[in-house]
Amino acid sequence: MKVLVAVKRVVDANVKVRVKADKTGVELANIKMAMNPFCEIAVEEAVRLKEKGKATEIVAVSMGPQSCQETIRTALAMGADRGVHVKTDAELQPLAVAKMLKAIVEAEKPGLVILGKQAIDNDCNQTGQMLAGLLGWPQGTFASKIDIGDGKIDVTREIDGGLETVSLKAPALVTTDLRLNEPRYASLPNIMKAKKKPIEEKTPEALGVDVTPRLKTLKVEEPPKRKGGVKVASIQELVDKLKAEAGVIQ
């Protein structure tokens, strides 16, 4: 079974972004970028499936400017076999990404597609579900466990009340949650090896997808700031304050 994973290049999770003075977006110049953490989990899961003999080949796809090839290289260093880069400087929104992934899935014919549940930049949590809908495939979102069976894939999902297990007819789409696995660090030899693995370049036009944004960002602003409060010296004082000033406890 071939497994396809999508990987997004985002601002590193440890960076606290700042809003641009002209309110057109956030400051991205000279900021550390990394693979979206949920995409790392997706790659790790694919590699584990290959190590267990359940997957035969792993294709890692990324979309965006030239720099996305670094993100694909990271996936290749973790154990993916080859990359596909849809090169464009255009703004890409989830629906357009899902449509381009659909075109790639139709060409590659994987038995399983794994995406991260959300990208930590726009926090949309959409692309996997959209792709599954466009393909007419079943979806196992927010996965904390994947079991590959015969012609079916069982997925344990993290839901608000606890856990839910669904059984999906293959081919299927899965989006990862935090507890699915702990991604590995690529070893130096594997980073070297990854440099020789092939990355195929494509364009939105070649895939036949109109990527024109459906949503227009009118402005981006700072959130209201919370004023840091006071430090209290004792529990007595804390309870006094909570009663008197905050009025939240009787």
Binding site: Q129, T141, A172, K216, V220, R226, V230, L242
Partner: protein, 316 residues
């Protein structure tokens, strides 16, 4: 045109997140309809009809909607949703699962996690773990929206009298089956609607300490118990306790963070709480920058002290 709210329910009752979603929907379009898709969901449909402001309830009662799996429910939304100006669901694991799939089937974008409605096509949503607020305008014919429930008040549950219309089931993709649910059992209030939350982090050191140290405090306060990702990843508490950017978003009257450092991703889930209290032994911990009241010290001493003090005053 009208706005359609996809109800989250257990066939008998409407879940509270739907009530906040209805308030958001009313700001997008005054004519609010509610879709109840389930099996034996008469009770939920009747409950929805009593919510003031709801004009019509669409009831799709069929075995294929029993566990409200994304595949059949999105297919239904793609049919009934065509005639609506907007389709909304709560931005929780239910809405997030179903709605983007429906949006793709309708060939429209989704606007995720809105916290404010500026006009019928313009919305405010947090990005980058809430470190920026984006105002976005949709050019699509149908606005598909998930709603951050803490951004909107809950609609009342009585006083309305909407008509209930039975809806034929839509085609079932038939590609997925429900196997089981393992729900965390708790007598406590639900995290996302609790007035008081006591949350523990890595500083708790074990699940046992959650039980012995944190829960007695939660009991005195009638609070829900939450956690940081570190506490969940360490196996102290189940996944559904996680508060944060990639867990639950909460905004209680009082949030007490115990042994939590205050990473951006955690703050993203709780910084809209009315009053924040932090208990941490590290006076430099970032959590103190958002806390209204902070106390520096060992949680294993301070939490039992707080519990005792609250009990003592309650007894007076």
């Amino acid at each position: 045109m009208s706005a359609l709210v996809l109800a989250e329910h257990d066939n008998n009752a409407i879940r509270s997140a739907t009530l906040n979603t209805i308030s958001a929907a009313a700001k997008v379009d005054a004519d609010v309809h509610v879709l109840v898709a389930g099996k034996g969901c008469d009770g939920a449909a009747k409950a929805a009809a009593q919510i003031p402001g709801v004009k019509k309830v669409l009831k799709a009662d069929d075995a294929r909607y029993d566990h409200q799996l994304a595949e059949p429910v999105a297919a239904l939304l793609a049919t009934v949703g065509k005639n609506y100006a907007a389709i909304l669901a709560p931005a929780d694991t239910f809405g997030k699962n179903v709605l983007p799939r429906a949006a793709a089937l309708l060939d429209v974008a989704q606007i995720s996690d809105i916290i404010a409605v500026v006009s019928s096509d313009t919305f405010v949503r947090p990005i980058y773990a809430g470190n920026a607020m984006a105002t976005v305008q949709s050019g699509d014919k149908i606005k598909v929206i998930t709603v951050r429930t803490t951004g909107f008040p809950a609609a009342a549950t009585t006083g309305g009298s909407a008509t209930i219309e039975a809806l034929a089931a839509a085609a079932d993709p038939g590609v997925s089956n429900f196997v089981k649910q393992e729900l965390s059992k708790s007598e406590r209030p639900e995290l996302t609607s609790a007035k008081v939350i006591v949350s523990g982090g890595r500083g708790m050191q074990s699940g046992d300490n959650f039980k012995k140290v944190l829960e007695p405090l939660a009991d005195v306060l009638g609070a829900a118990v939450g956690a940081s990702r570190a506490a969940v990843d360490s196996g102290f508490v189940p996944n559904d306790f996680q508060v944060g950017q990639t867990g639950k978003i909460v905004a209680p009257e009082l949030y007490i963070a115990v042994g939590i450092s205050g990473a951006i991703q955690h703050l993203a889930g709780m910084k809209d709480s009315k009053v924040i209290v932090a208990i941490n032994k590290d006076e430099e911990a970032p959590i103190f920058q958002v806390a209204d009241f902070g106390i520096v010290g060992d949680l294993f001493k301070l939490v039992p002290e707080l519990e005792a003090e609250l009990k003592r005053r309650a007894a007076k």
